[in-house]
Each structure stands twice: as C-alpha cells, then as structure tokens.
C-alpha cells in the first residue's frame, strides 16, 4: 500500500514541478513592490500630525492599507486578474513617487474564487486584522450584494467593479461604483438607439426596437433587468420580446437563445456579460449566419480587448455597441491614459491585460487615494476613518479620477457614476469609436 502512495505522490509532485517549471503564460510575479524604505530623513520629528494646519502633513513611517478581494480562480478570473494587477501596479507607483503624504500605501488581496462564502470570510479576516480599515475594493456583483450591508455597518468604504444596482442602493451606503449600474447602462444605450434607430437599425428591421435580453443566469448576467429599467424601456416604447439564458462559460452554446430571440422578432440583443460572453453571442450569430439581423449591445465589460481573445474572427466584433464609462487606451492625448500606459509598460504586463480592467483600477486606486488625501486634508490623519473617506468621496463630487479617465459624481445620494460614453467597434481591435460622447445617463437606481 505504502508503495502506491509513494509512487503516486512522487508522480504528482514531479508532474506539477515539471509542468510548473514550463508553465504556460508565465504571469509576472505579483508586482515587485519597491518598499520605499527611509524616505529622505524628515526634518521635523514625524509625530502624529498636529491639528490640521495649512500645508500637507508628513506621514512618513505610517502605513495605509487598501484591501481587495475577488475571483482569481473561478469563472470571473479572466477579468479579475487585470483588475487586480492594475490596482497593485497603481499602488506600487504611488509608493515610488513618495507615498501618500509620505505614508506607505499597502494593498492586501484575498482570492474568493467567485464564492460569496469566501468573500465573507475574507471580510471577517481583514476587519479582524485591522481596527480601522478604510477602503476595500471588490470586483463581483454577487460579492457586493452580499457584503454591502456589512460595509455600511462597519463603515468601510467599498469601491467596486461589480455594478449591481442592489449592491449600491439596497441596505447599502458605503459601496461606491467604478462604473454605472447595469440598469443605467441598458437604459442609456437603448435611449440612444431609439433616437438614432435609422442610423443603426439592421437592414429589414421594423420601426420598433424589439429587444432580446440574452445573458448568463447569474446575479451579474441578470443585473440589468430591474423593475426600474423595465419601466424605463417600456416608456421608451421598447418591448423586451425575449429573455433567454446561456451558460457562464466561453464554451456555451447560444444557438437556442439566439434562435428563440429571432423567433420572437427581436432586432436588438443586449447581453450583460463579460467579454467572453459577448464573444460567444457574436461567434454564434456568425456561425448561424444571422449577424446582420441584430444590433448587438453589451455592458461596459463586454467591449474589451479580451473580447477579441474569444472571437473566432476579429471581423465578428465590428458593430458591437457598448456603454463606455471611461476613456480607452487609444485616447493617448489624456495624461491619465498616458500614466496608465507607462505603468503597464514599466511592469511588463502581458498584452492580454492591456484591457479595461487594468486601466479602470488605476483610475480606481487614484480615486481611493484622492479621497483618503481629501479626508486627511479636511479632518486630519488622526481622524482618518472609513467614515471620513466616505464623507470625502461625497464632498469631492463631482470628480474626475485619473485626469478624467473616469468621471464620478457621488452627490445627492448617488453612489454610482451617471455619465458615460457609448462606443462601437469599427474596424480592428482597439478601434472602439465614440458614437456618443460623455452624456448624462438615465438614473434608474432602485428606491432605497
């Protein structure tokens, strides 16, 4: 018996070592964080900053920690990995540039594998380790919905890329979005399509927009259809003729969903998914020879460089329309985008991560740091709490993070941005052309 065990273990270990050694896609080591040890000797003894007088305080020797947790090994890993790397690179860069008023910015991560149970455990662990947690960044809709109440009770600011309406506005209060909620997104794009229907309608389509909502059967996938967004679409005169689901997997077969949509007379498809979800729809539309019968629209995650990783042919992407609540890598005249590009190159991230996640989280960390700075400026370092950061976020609004890469306005009880662009893929990868510049979105948040 023992013999079996030994050989079994040996084989497993050697397989993992051999394969591990030549593992595919060697992901770069998590951020070579240069610890900014001993910043230039402080002239004055850095006691806890005195009463906030004029001029920035000197916080050398202090550490301010940002926590983040998300799915690095479950279904959403494809999008979470660049988000996390963006956050980590941004933090490292801030430390290299001297930190936050001299204080070192630390960032701690927990992998939840997409499980809410794990997210709660991570929250308990982080709040147990730290008496005064300020900011936690999360990445998934389900996690946000489950934790929003805890963030509000614990007075910990939660910046999130999981844009579920319920997470922000039901039993919530400390959860702030890095993008508009999905109901806003679908309303925004549909209003635009309604107004410009003659320009974008498929050949042979009627005067009415008939919407097919094809998406994943998950909190995220179903996140755009709420009572508010349904009522708004009805007001616009847009009928939802089909609601179909398909598997949360790049191997999903969407044939039945598409054909059911077609049979119901749909001419517009909305899919509330990540890049690979949009790709499956586009692939299958082409494989079925039906691409020219539909306008395909998606949420902000659906239009990304990652979309191309899953398209059977890059040409299939052309014509995809999406909400675009941030600038893009091609907007090189923007200093924020230039900064992100520099970080991307300095950290030698793989081309596959040159996507929305990385850019957005550099802006997200910038938002967090600005808010913390603002809180220190107004209340002093000794009064720096999650609540102070929360107040700072509201106080600062409206606000442009990272030189306008992201535009947020958290005033008036809103905790998610309400301005965005609409872009359309015209030509090859990266050619996300603006078809609607920054504009006010319909406000479809649920009643609190």
């Amino acid at each position: 018996m023992r013999k079996y065990l030994l050989s079994l273990l040996t084989i497993m270990v050697s397989i993992s070592l051999v394969l591990g050694a030549c593992a595919p896609k060697p992901t770069p080591t998590p951020v070579p964080t240069k610890v900014p040890t001993a910043t230039p000797v402080p002239t004055k003894a850095p006691t806890a900053t005195p009463v906030p007088t004029k001029g920035p305080p000197d916080l050398t020797g202090q550490t301010i920690t940002i926590y983040h947790f998300g799915d690095l090994s479950g279904p959403y890993a494809a999008i979470t990995a660049p988000l996390i790397h963006g956050a980590e690179d941004a933090v490292a860069a801030i430390n290299e540039a001297g930190g936050l008023y001299g204080a070192t910015l630390a960032i701690k991560f927990a992998d939840t594998a997409g499980s809410i149970d794990e997210a709660v455990a991570a929250y308990d662990r982080f709040t147990g380790e730290d008496d005064n947690p300020l900011v936690m960044i999360t990445y998934g809709s389900g996690e946000v919905e489950a934790l929003a109440q805890r963030f509000a009770e614990g007075k910990v600011v939660n910046l999130t890329a999981g844009l579920s309406a319920r997470g922000f506005y039901v039993d919530s209060g400390y959860t702030f979005g890095l993008g508009p909620i999905y109901p806003d997104q679908i309303g925004f794009v549909m209003k635009f399509l309604k107004e410009n229907w003659d320009t974008y309608k498929p050949a042979g389509a009627g005067e009415e927009i008939k919407l097919a909502y094809l998406s994943w059967p998950t909190a995220f996938g179903q996140g755009a259809l709420t009572d508010e967004s349904r009522a708004y679409l009805a007001d616009l005169g847009i009928e939802i003729v089909a609601e179909e689901i398909y598997d949360l997997s790049p191997t999903a077969d969407t044939t039945t969903a598409i054909l059911n949509g077609q049979a119901a007379g749909a001419n517009v498809i909305w899919t509330n998914t990540l890049a690979f979800g949009t790709s499956v729809i586009l692939n299958d539309l082409n494989a079925l020879g039906l691409r020219d019968q539909f306008v395909v629209c998606t949420d902000n995650w659906g239009m990304d460089l990652a979309t191309y990783a899953f398209l059977a042919n890059p040409a299939y992407g052309v014509g995809l329309i999406a909400t675009f609540p941030y600038l893009w890598w091609t907007d090189t005249d923007n200093p924020g985008v230039q900064y992100a590009q520099q970080l991307f190159e300095a950290n030698e991230r793989t081309a596959g991560e040159h996507n929305v996640g990385y850019l957005l989280l550099i802006a997200g960390v910038d938002l967090a740091v600005e808010a913390i700075q603002h809180a220190i400026d107004t209340g002093g370092y000794e009064n720096l709490t999650g609540e102070a950061v929360h107040d700072a976020l509201i106080d600062m609004s409206p606000f442009e993070a990272l030189n306008g890469v992201l535009r947020v306005d958290f005033s008036g009880g809103s905790r998610s941005p309400h301005t965005a662009q609409i872009r359309m893929i015209q030509g090859g990868p990266d050619a996300f052309a603006v078809i609607q510049n920054w504009a006010e979105m319909p406000d479809l948040r649920p009643a609190e």
């Binding site: 018996m1 079996y4 050989s7 079994l8 084989i11 497993m12 397989i15 993992s16 394969l19 591990g20 593992a23 595919p24 896609k25 992901t27 690095l72 090994s73 479950g74 279904p75 890993a77 494809a78 990995a81 059967p217 609601e243 179909e244 689901i245 598997d247 949360l248 997997s249 790049p250 191997t251 999903a252 077969d253 044939t255 039945t256 054909l259 059911n260 049979a263 690979f276 790709s279 499956v280 692939n283 299958d284 082409n286 494989a287 079925l288 020879g289 039906l290 990783a309 899953f310 059977a312 042919n313 596959g352």
Partner: protein, 306 residues
C-alpha cells in the same frame, strides 16, 4: 411550443448529443471492465483539451502532432490513475471507490488550475466557424419552408464523436483484446482463471477512457473555447450513461442523442421556465429512468440474492 423552431432545435440538440455520447463512452469503458463509475471523467477530458492547447498554442506544434501527443499523455494518465489510485481500492466498498474517483476529480481540477490558470483561452479551430449549412425541411410555417441552420463546427464534432463511438464499438466486437475485455466484464475471477490478466485489462480500459476523453475535450473546445468549466459536460453524460445502460456501448450513442434531443426540444417551448429547464433536462430524464427502468434502455437487469 414554437413549432417553427422544433425541427431546428431537435437537430441542434441531436448534434450536441454527439460529444455527450463520446463522454458517456469513456464512463462506460471503465465501468464495463472494472465496475467503477468514474466521476473524474470530466477532468480527464479537461486535461486532454488543456494538453492539446498547450502543445499546439504555447509550443506552436502542428495541431495533429499536438493532438497525438495529448492522446498519448492522456492514455498514460489513465494508466497511472488505474495503477496508483484505483488498484489499491480493489475489494473496497462502493462508497470508497466513488469517493476515490471524486477525490481524483478534485486533484485533477486543482492541478489544471494550478498549471494552466483559470483564464479562458481560444482553442485552434479545426472546423469553420462560419458558413453554416442550410437545410430546407419539408415543414412549412407561415407559408415559408422551415430552414434548419447547422453550424459547421457542431456538425463535424458530431460526426467525429459518433465515428469515435463506432470505432470503439467495433474494437470491442471484432478484436481479440476487445473480446478479452468483454470477457473480463462478465466475471473477473473467471477471466483470470482462463489466463486473462485482468489488471492489464483494467489499465487498458482506463487508457482508452483517457483517449476517448481527450477526443471529446478537443471536439468541445474547438467548437467554442477552452476553460476549466469544460469538465461540466460530464454532468450531462452521467444521465446519458444511465439512460443507455451502464454497460452498453450502443447505449451511449442512444443515451447521448436522447439527452441532447430532450434539451433541444424543451428549448422550443413558448414558456420561458420550460425553455430554461434545458439545463436540467438530463436529470429529469435521469429521474424518469431511475423510476421506470433503472437498468437503462440497453442495460442488463441484475437480480440480487443474499
């Protein structure tokens, strides 16, 4: 029912049943020889697809060579599993054996995640993703003939899968090794007494199961894409196996196709909740089979005595 969609979905469902049948075949191969129900078959399939991807994309080998290498390695993997994990379990109760294959599935899933990461990836295309076949059916709806659209990759995956099952079936029927394997499945002790090495035969069936799984994995990955969730196809294959009969090779084809067909047909319903039931259709079929004909369509009924 959306009647104009019925022919389309029936055929799409049948085609999707091909890879299910192939996966089911892997399960039957092992069960036939050693009475082990392999819960790790989905992970074998995933490993096979990942290996192919690794050779073809990461190392730039030509696809045929990558496939051959992956087939070879997965056969080895099958052998190793039989030798190291399941042979020590000989004579153990059913629960232990079931748990052993469940444990294997966890280990393989963990290894896949550790070695290849969770990112989704594009798989080399073997069949065209465009230019679907259009078949005009004799049915008419709204005065227009119903045209069935068949995706090329789905059609060809189906053809390869069914060919695979037929080849294995022929192997069992017409070769000497196949005969020995069938003999072993009848009675282990009897087989041993006439000079068959049952351990070799167990090993062979696991190796074959590894090969079959890899073919299935490649077919699934090439028509859509590759990520760790590929292993869930086996969850549709379990009911197919029970429907066809645990020990029947032709049963896998019938079972796989019927499961695919049932999923296709409910998708044509007008009621959204019935349409969404497509994902659990295999298990509804399974419950029906368990209640009315537990031995499956082609299985053998066993009568128990104390």
């Amino acid at each position: 029912m959306n009647w104009q969609l019925v022919p389309q979905f029936a055929i799409t469902g049948l085609l999707a049943g091909g890879p299910i049948a192939l996966t089911a075949l892997g399960l039957v191969l092992i069960f036939k020889s050693s009475y082990i129900f392999n819960f790790a078959q989905g992970q074998l399939l995933l490993m096979g697809a990942l290996l192919t991807w690794w050779f073809a994309v990461e190392h730039g080998l030509p696809l045929w060579m990558a496939i051959l290498l992956a087939l070879f390695l997965s056969a080895l993997l099958g052998l190793a599993i039989e030798r190291l994990a399941l042979r020590p379990m000989t004579g153990q109760p059913l629960l232990s054996i079931i748990l052993m294959t469940l444990a294997l599935s966890q280990v393989l899933q963990g290894l896949a995640l550790l070695l290849f990461g969770a990112t989704q990836r594009n798989f080399p295309q073997m069949f065209s993703a465009a230019n679907p076949y259009r078949i005009t059916t004799p049915f008419v709806y709204n005065d227009r003939p119903i045209v069935v659209i068949l995706k090329q990759n789905l059609t060809w995956s189906f053809v390869v899968a069914v060919l695979g099952v037929l080849v294995i079936g022929a192997f069992f029927r017409f070769t000497k090794t196949g005969l020995a394997m069938r003999g072993t499945s009848e009675d282990h002790e009897l087989a041993q007494s006439i000079g068959l090495s049952i351990h070799r035969i167990f090993g062979l069936s696991w190796a074959l199961a590894g090969v079959v799984a890899t073919v299935g994995g490649i077919l699934l990955a090439t028509s859509s894409g590759l990520d760790l969730s590929l292993s869930v196809v086996v969850l549709a294959a379990f009911p197919a196996v029970l429907l066809g009969g645990l020990e029947s090779i032709p049963g896998t084809i019938v079972g796989g196709l019927l499961i695919g067909l049932s999923q296709g047909l409910v998708s044509a319903s007008k009621v959204s909740i019935v349409r969404n039931a497509a994902e659990i259709m295999p298990y509804i079929v399974l419950l029906i089979v368990l209640v009315f004909r537990p031995e499956g369509l082609f299985g053998q009924k066993r009568i128990e005595r104390i």
